[in-house]
């Protein structure tokens, strides 16, 4: 809680400095109406009017989904390599932190040792196409070992992604890493194509909902949050790992220079796709800051919401709970 207060204060300072920077810096010159919403007042709807942002461009709402799909189709094969190159391997640390925040390791061990309980635990990883986060859950919960014995595993991880290309990469990786058992016999890992705004799952079906580096690509974030609440069981937890706004102004300048100059160039060299990576860095700038996303969570109906900054706020983990009935 203390951590949250201090980072909120830092975010306020950074926002003020950021507003001054906006006047002078080319890269942030197209001011975002979203980023200017103040703490405390309820946020405006995420999508308003007929257009929304796609990077620094404005596109009709109906087109954003297909444009995003296009970007990730282009980068699917080189996605994980690019993540390593762009973040200097940091994305692994962020995802590991996310795992330790969920407590999936200890709780699943406890569930498996518990003879009285059925020991069910269902995890949904949205926008997790290549399985990077899902594999961490699987391993922490001991699913590959469990898959060696027969029967359905009461602990399961579902990967949902809007992009079939990404899912194909994920499924192929899962089969080479863990063998076919996790997917076919124990059915502990499932890949499912679906849109975060209207998930193809029943109400109250998951204990944990995670979305890592996916929420900012969703057309209507509010709608996605409401649907997350719907599919979670009462008492279920929502966790979102997403790029956020750097709180330290000096570091922000370095970070901006790096993102706008290095990342698209590396994207061009490695993935031969400058535009997709240009979109990536632009979409980060256009996405909600820490406090705004937190108030969106509150608005969607989550309780106990808070966020934790990592690496100076380059990324932040937002969390919330579905109220117990």
């Amino acid at each position: 809680m203390k951590r949250y207060i201090s980072s909120a204060r830092a975010a306020q300072v950074a926002r003020k400095v950021g507003q001054n920077l906006q006047k002078s810096q080319r890269c942030i010159s197209s001011t975002s109406s979203l980023a200017s919403s103040t703490t405390g007042s309820p946020p405006q709807d995420y999508v308003q009017g007929s257009t929304t942002h796609f990077g620094f461009e404005n596109v009709p709402i109906s087109e954003k989904e297909s444009k995003v799909r296009n970007v990730f189709e282009n980068v699917a094969e080189s996605y994980d390599v690019m993540n390593d190159l762009m973040s200097g391997g940091l994305h692994r640390y962020w995802k590991d932190e996310l795992l330790s925040m969920t407590g999936v390791g200890p709780i699943c061990q406890a569930l498996r040792s518990n003879t009285l309980d059925k020991g069910e635990f269902s995890i949904l990883d949205v926008a997790g196409g290549t399985g990077d986060v899902a594999f961490r859950f699987l391993e922490a919960a001991g699913c590959p070992e469990r898959a060696k014995s027969s029967g359905k595993d009461p602990i399961n991880v579902t990967v949902c992604d809007i992009n079939p290309e990404m899912l194909k990469v994920g499924e192929r990786r899962a089969r080479t890493r863990y063998g076919n058992a996790v997917l076919d016999q124990s059915q502990t890992l499932t890949f499912k194509e679906g849109n975060a705004q209207y998930l193809p799952f029943e109400d109250n079906s998951f204990d944990l909902y995670t979305i890592a580096f996916g929420l900012r690509n969703v057309t209507d974030v509010d709608m996605a949050l409401r649907d997350a609440l719907r599919v979670l069981k009462p008492g279920g937890r929502f966790l979102c790992l997403e790029f956020s706004h750097v709180t330290n102004p000096a570091f922000a300048a370095v970070y901006d220079a790096y993102s706008f100059n290095v990342i698209p160039a590396v994207g061009e060299m490695v993935a031969n796709d400058r535009d997709s990576y240009q979109y990536l860095v632009e979409s980060i700038r256009k996405f909600c800051n820490q406090d705004e996303l937190k108030s969106r969570l509150d608005k969607a109906g989550f309780t106990n919401t808070k966020y934790t900054n990592m690496t100076q706020g380059i990324v932040a983990v937002h969390e919330g709970w579905k109220p117990l009935e």
Binding site: M1, K2, R3, G103, P106, G236, R237
Partner: protein, 320 residues
């Protein structure tokens, strides 16, 4: 020799204060759900240790949704802090129920009763061999300041109880830094003693505690007299000696943690500290005499140094 413990305690305390403001959760109360998870997790410590596993078992036993394990932010050390905080709270309640005024308890009696009651709460974990781990965890660099805070709170609880003493109509004054430090040192020393105590009902430890409190009282009564203002006064030297040797134990508990993991602390450092902390009660009346040292092979730089030492030594030694 006299300055050492006071400056030592002074340097520890401001640090503890600062972190108290910055990151500590000690000042905050737990939500009812967090509290029921942590309370339910404590019985699992005997099997699983002060770990995330015990915490996870606590979540399941408390019949809360499994995802609620995420409510506990610091999954690795919240349990031990909760235990220390909770035990302090229990002690406060027990002392409030104790009729200190009516039974005409003296200061040392209050200290002894309070410390014994508090340490008795650790006994189940000592029996299941988990307390050494708990202490080591509490002494790790990230947690040491919290632990110092718990200790300070404990001292405040004892101090508050001491204030209620009907000490021949004399109103007790709040404890000074040195006194509180000495009190903390007695507590830590007894806690360490308890770790390796195999006697029935930990009788050895309670005897050890009794002797330490007696020593404290001697030092304190010495402090009150006018003669104690003179640094050379025997009582003051004795009191400082007790405080510095025991205060050293507090430090030796904290310092090695900087480079070492829990395993190595519990396996190597604790026994060493334990050896240092053996009660002097066994042959304290004998002590080290000047004739135990062989001065003959030392080059004489002042001719009268040896006879002087042999005279002053027996006077300065504490008399329990």
């Amino acid at each position: 020799m006299y300055r050492f413990p006071a400056s030592l305690i002074r340097t520890i305390r401001p640090t503890a204060r600062r972190t108290f403001v910055a990151t500590s959760r000690i000042s905050q109360s737990y939500s009812s759900q967090e509290e029921s998870i942590l309370t339910a997790a404590l019985p699992h410590v005997h099997q699983h240790g002060w770990t995330e596993q015990a915490l996870a078992q606590g979540v399941l036993t408390s019949k809360l949704p499994p995802s609620y394990i995420g409510l506990i932010e610091d999954k690795k050390s919240e349990l031990i802090h909760f235990f220390m905080k909770n035990s302090n709270k229990q002690l406060e309640y027990i002392l409030q129920q104790t009729d200190i005024e009516g039974e005409n308890m003296t200061h040392s009696q209050v200290i002894e009763v309070a410390m014994r009651k508090r340490l008795e709460m650790n006994v189940p974990y000592i029996k299941s061999q988990r307390w050494a781990e708990g202490m080591a965890l509490g002494a790790m660099p990230l947690n040491a300041c919290h632990t110092a805070n718990h200790l300070e709170q404990l001292m405040m609880i004892i101090e508050n109880a001491m204030m209620r003493c009907n000490n021949n109509g004399v109103q007790a004054s709040p404890l000074g830094i040195l006194e509180r430090g000495a009190l903390g040192a007695v507590y830590i020393a007894t806690e360490l003693h308890l770790l390796s105590d195999n006697s029935t009902n930990q009788q050895d430890t309670w005897n050890f505690l009794h002797q330490r409190v007696e020593q404290l009282e001697q030092a304190a009564t010495g402090n009150l007299s006018v003669s104690s203002l003179v640094p050379n006064s025997d009582t003051l030297v004795a009191g400082a000696a007790v405080a510095s040797s025991l205060g050293g134990a507090v430090l030796s508990l904290v310092a090695p943690a900087a480079g070492a993991g829990i395993q190595s602390i519990t396996s190597s450092v604790m026994p060493a500290v334990m050896n240092m902390m053996q009660p002097p009660s066994v042959d304290s009346t004998v002590g080290t005499k000047a004739q135990d040292y062989d001065f003959s092979d030392l080059p004489p730089f002042e001719s009268d140094i040896a006879p002087k030492k042999s005279k002053s030594k027996p006077d300065a030694s504490p008399q329990p």
